[in-house]
Symmetry: C2
Subunit: 249 residues, 2 copies
């Protein structure tokens, strides 16, 4: 079933006239007819079953709320040091959205080889936001993830969160395998977690020191060396496994 | 530290003359000198610290075995229905190798849109095997994963394994969230697990029936719909989290 996000609209607006991009996809690309069923997520992060009632302009009515819980029980923000290539942020956002992340922050860390020109930040974020939208629709999320940019680590450290973690490959070597489990199992439903990942060259000792001072907990993600775009995906899958499949929350 | 797989060579061959492709990368690309340190994995799946002792031909001596355990405590085979694009098998092999898989099998399932022409199978496997090699070196594996092809599901069902799982999105809806945890926690060190994933269109009911008859257990991977290339990565991260970070084995 095709799902669309309509973040500007609410259930009281029904019947809902669809925005132009959604109308184009539904009517022109998918060739929907009056009576075609779709799913929509409205401003309240609630999914609804809906039905097309007119084509010009494309209009739907809501038929029933969809009640299944598809969001992680905690709010997850991934903060990623800017990777080298533009493909890697795209992979992180697409796969991270499928795996349940709520917010993405890309920041320039000391060893980031890539830099986002101030003039191009808005365009890059717009492209990543579109990727998040497509992945959220495809994976049937009810939360449309946000994508933001920070010029340096200091700006990331100001982000509020109930738990703040940093993926650190050295921690596995030091026998801290249990740190991630300890962090995840201490979370309560509705809390927030900020997980930070270095770029290809890793984080500098100054950055690690700044994070430690800011209350970040170092966690290992197993004994293999993960690429910068793979580590956030491991983290999200582990979080889902612990909180959704093991049912701790 | 650069790591190379030398699957044809053993510790008793020392000093080791490097194969041409490895010698080219080490000496020409990385500009190694006599005395440069490298890591190698030999036929025994054991990693060694080594040192360059000659450049023409490129030759190393082993200086010490590397004893840290970097492999999953169980042998994991991923069997994936052929995805639509050639990028997806590449992503599965690269990320799956980082995340610890030992064997990859791609098979044509009933809903596979893509087909591998018999004449091209060897070339496609060769390319995927090279991707596995690069990822295994980069992630510091001691096991070089294999990549194979099967023309249909029946050929996959003959694969021996101590546990056989199939990722099935319906199972989450049926409250079987705990099935993956139950499977993983019942494994013993050294056992093998075969995990099967459908292509984009999913598995047909006939395929699911054949798998059930063959003793496959359906497991859910959380409440969000994962793309065909994302589900195996979730499975591997969950397996690592359960068996390596929670330390059940």
């Amino acid at each position: 079933m095709q799902r669309y996000f309509l973040p500007e609209q609410t259930a009281t607006d029904t019947p809902l006239v669809l925005p132009a991009t959604v109308a184009h996809h539904l009517v022109t690309v998918l060739r929907a007819q009056v009576g075609t069923a779709v799913e929509v997520v409205l401003a309240d992060h609630q999914a609804y079953q809906a039905e097309v009632v007119a084509l010009t302009p494309a209009t739907i009515t809501l038929t029933a709320p969809l009640t299944s819980q598809v969001e992680l029980p905690v709010t997850v923000t991934l903060a990623c040091g800017l990777p080298k290539t533009k493909e890697k942020p795209e992979l992180i956002v697409q796969k991270g959205t499928e795996l349940g992340a709520h917010h993405f922050i890309f920041f320039e860390s000391e060893r980031s080889v890539s830099h986002w020109d101030a003039k191009k930040v808005a365009k890059k974020l717009d492209r990543l936001q579109k990727i998040a939208l497509g992945a959220a629709e495809q994976s049937h999320r009810t939360w449309l993830p946000t994508v933001e940019y920070r010029p340096n680590l200091a700006a990331v450290l100001k982000e509020p969160a109930d738990q703040r973690l940093v993926a650190w490959e050295e921690s596995a070597k030091q026998g801290e395998a249990a740190a991630l489990t300890q962090s995840l199992t201490s979370l309560q439903a509705g809390q927030s977690i900020l997980a930070l990942f270095g770029p290809e060259g890793g984080l500098t000792s100054a950055e690690v020191a700044a994070m430690t001072a800011a209350g970040f907990q170092a966690v290992g993600l197993g004994p293999r060396i993960l690429r910068t775009e793979t580590a956030p995906l491991y983290f999200l899958a582990a979080t889902s496994y612990q909180l959704e499949l093991q049912g701790n929350l």
